[in-house]
């Protein structure tokens, strides 16, 4: 970081993480209006103060989170953040050593069978029986989930396989499937019994960009039917555009949670502009200018300036030009999930070629291939027609 760059994009001071409370408790003193909209449905999943260790290694340390019904909640975090353990406590496959878990209002450790019957899960590995055919893998799940073995189950199996484009390969052994086909089979298996809650643990792990895109589109389709989705990933671009709700985990705790718009507004309450000049250091004078909330510039990089109002841009440009600064770029910057993620985690991006001690892989391949699900963050210029 350039020493002259006094401001920082991480300089925001978001409120303490009270998101779970916000999701579950009405505001104090709130008075219901006569025409108040109906209350949102209860969160499908609530974790409160959940701790879980493996021997001496704590995986979850008082995790709080909630997954609203009929929404896609994405758990973000680096390897070892506790995402998979969180998923496992949700189904009751692992018992929390402390805290409480409620799924559909039920305790998975008491009503585990009921909870698991209403859940569909795809784990990081497809968990398929390689010696069995695709059909037999689905038939096994159909039986375990109470669909039986009759014509109804057969119809569901074939419909589910067709939905994920693997109906042509049902008679082949799953061991001969490609990685993409295995994931599709695992997805087909997860929705076979029409679950109300879908849990996806890095569902695109090992997939090529095209297959990843298809899988994410399918996940989006599934929520259209009213299912709740909890998906964990460390691929930020994958989560972007898909997440209705984001929970950032680190060291078994929730750092922050909320909708992308809420989190963006919390970390960047103003408008963000990217500026560059022939001599970028000349931009550093903006750090103390009127209306500049934060200023950030790394060596050799454009300056990121957060303004209290986008309408200040023409004045800033004029002032810089009058000072003899030769601008080469002035553009609005829509904070990405990647920006948000690093802002939340309170650390700058790793330097190129330097592997941080606690790496969070970014899938550059997808950046290059253009396989992006689409940005949902508000474009400040688009929100202000005429450019203010």
């Amino acid at each position: 970081m350039d020493g002259a760059a006094a401001g920082t994009l991480q300089g925001g001071t978001p409120a303490a993480d009270t998101d779970v409370m916000a999701l579950t408790e009405p505001a104090v003193g709130a008075r219901p209006a006569a025409t108040a909209p109906p209350p949102p449905p209860e969160p499908t999943v609530v974790l409160r103060g959940v701790a879980r260790s493996f021997g001496d290694n704590p995986a979850l340390r008082g995790l709080d989170m909630a997954a609203p019904a009929a929404r896609i909640t994405v758990l973000l975090g680096p390897n070892g953040a506790g995402k998979t353990t969180a998923i496992r406590t949700i189904t009751g496959a692992l018992d929390p050593h402390e805290g409480a878990v409620r799924v559909f209002g039920l305790d998975p450790m008491v009503d585990g069978d009921e909870v698991r019957r209403r859940c569909g899960i795809v784990s990081a590995k497809p968990s398929l029986y390689d010696l069995l055919t695709g059909y037999d893998n689905l038939a096994y799940a159909a039986e375990l989930y109470g669909l039986g073995r009759g014509a109804t189950a057969d119809g569901l199996i074939r419909a589910s396989a067709a939905r994920f484009g693997i109906d042509h390969a049902l008679d082949q052994r799953a061991g001969g499937y490609s990685t993409g086909m295995k994931t599709r089979l695992a997805l087909a298996r997860s929705v076979l019994h029409s679950p109300e809650l879908l849990l996806f643990d890095e569902p695109t792990s090992g997939l090529d960009p095209e297959s990843s895109f298809a899988v994410l589109e399918l996940i989006r389709e599934m929520t259209a039917g009213g299912a709740t989705v909890v998906m964990c990933t460390h691929l930020l671009l994958e989560a972007e555009g898909l997440a209705d709700q984001i929970v950032v985990l680190e060291d078994g705790r929730s750092l922050v949670s909320g909708t992308p718009d809420e989190l963006t507004a919390r970390y960047w309450p103003g408008a963000v502009v990217r500026l560059d000049a022939e001599d970028p250091s000349a931009l550093d004078r903006l750090a103390g200018a009127d209306g500049v909330l934060t200023y950030d510039r790394e060596n050799g990089s454009p300056a990121m300036v957060q303004l209290d109002d986008m309408a200040r841009v023409p004045d800033l440009v004029r002032a810089l030009t009058l000072d003899g600064v030769r601008l080469t770029r002035v553009e609005p910057h829509t904070p990405t999930l990647e920006d948000l993620y690093f802002a939340v985690r309170g650390r700058s991006r790793p330097e190129p070629g330097v592997v941080p001690r606690d790496p969070t892989p970014i899938d550059d391949r997808r950046l290059k291939s253009g396989n992006r699900i689409g940005r949902r963050f508000r474009d400040p210029f688009a929100a202000s027609p005429g450019g203010n």
């Binding site: 579950t24 949102p40 692992l94 409480a100 069978d113 968990s127 398929l128 375990l144």
Partner: protein
């Protein structure tokens, strides 16, 4: 947002719901799927068939043919002398007018009895050792752990799937063995005589509990160890003494009075039930996932 009231457990392990009955549909599903995979695994069932064929068909055929067709009187006399070490009751039951016939009868009825124990135990141990740790190694334990199937149902399903191949091989092999014995020895002792009543008791009353007892230990090991190889090694250690016990008891059951077989079987059944109940606790969802279960 609507409020959700949940009570923290404050470090205490949550209580599970009162036990419900066993879901036999889920047990059958797990067992059937495991068996289907075994059938698909040619590298498993070919050696299994070979083992059964060697013990129930090849070796008995060769030995019984040699004894019944041997012309060396001295050898037959030595065999007849050997029969004198058998209990009086067993000696009285031996049929046949000639030394050859008596020797062949004794060998068919008494000396091959342990085969009926060794074959199922060997096969079932090999299957059982890999059954739970194998799910973990293949990653399919994750699917089972998140499925609505209870751990009791998973355990029982895997027990049945481990028990069935060994016992099935034994029953089929027993059928072949009976045929061979009756065809080779029968004409010399006045007609078809096999299986004798003691053999029926052995096959239906004594062998199954020993098999179940061994598998209860093997499945416990399979749930705890980290790899299939470790499970195979440990299962060998556990099952070998049990094979020896089963060997001696089955032999004794045939040598002794009728009631001895029933008593041995009854004791074995009690031990098996205890072993199975304790073994059921070894299977947990955490172990299916392959994570440490301790606090």
């Amino acid at each position: 947002m609507a409020a959700v009231t949940i009570e923290a457990t404050d470090g205490t392990r949550p209580r599970t719901k009162a036990r419900r009955g066993v879901d036999w549909r889920a047990v059958r599903t797990v067992a059937r799927t495991d068996l289907r995979q075994l059938i698909q695994a040619r590298d498993f069932w070919i050696p299994m068939m070979a083992l059964g064929a060697i013990f129930f068909f090849v070796i008995p055929t060769i030995l019984l043919l040699v004894i019944t067709r041997v012309s060396n009187v001295q050898i037959v006399q030595q065999l007849s002398t050997t029969l004198s070490v058998l209990p009086q009751q067993a000696q009285r039951a031996i049929r046949g007018d000639t030394g050859q016939a008596r020797a062949a009868y004794a060998m068919a009825v008494y000396l091959f009895a342990p085969v009926a124990v060794v074959v199922p135990l060997t096969i079932s141990t090999a299957v059982g050792a890999a059954t739970i740790v194998g799910e973990r190694e293949r990653g399919t334990g994750e699917f089972l752990a998140h499925s609505p199937a209870g751990v009791r149902e998973i355990y029982l399903g895997k027990l049945i799937a481990s028990l069935t191949p060994g016992y099935f091989t034994t029953i089929v092999g027993f059928g072949f063995y009976s045929l061979i014995v009756n065809l080779i020895v029968g004409p010399q002792v006045g007609g078809w005589f096999f299986p004798t009543p003691q053999w029926w008791v052995l096959m239906l009353w004594v062998v199954p509990p020993f098999l179940a007892l061994t598998l209860s230990l093997v499945l416990r090991l399979s749930a705890r160890v980290k790899s299939t190889a470790a499970a195979q090694q440990a299962s060998g250690l556990v099952s070998l003494p049990l094979i020896m016990v089963a060997y001696s008891q089955s032999t004794g059951a045939l040598f002794g009075a009728g009631s001895v077989s029933w008593i041995i079987g009854a004791v074995a059944w009690v031990a098996a039930v205890i072993g199975l109940r304790r073994g059921m606790r070894a299977v947990t969802r955490a172990r299916l996932l392959g994570v440490a279960d301790e606090r």
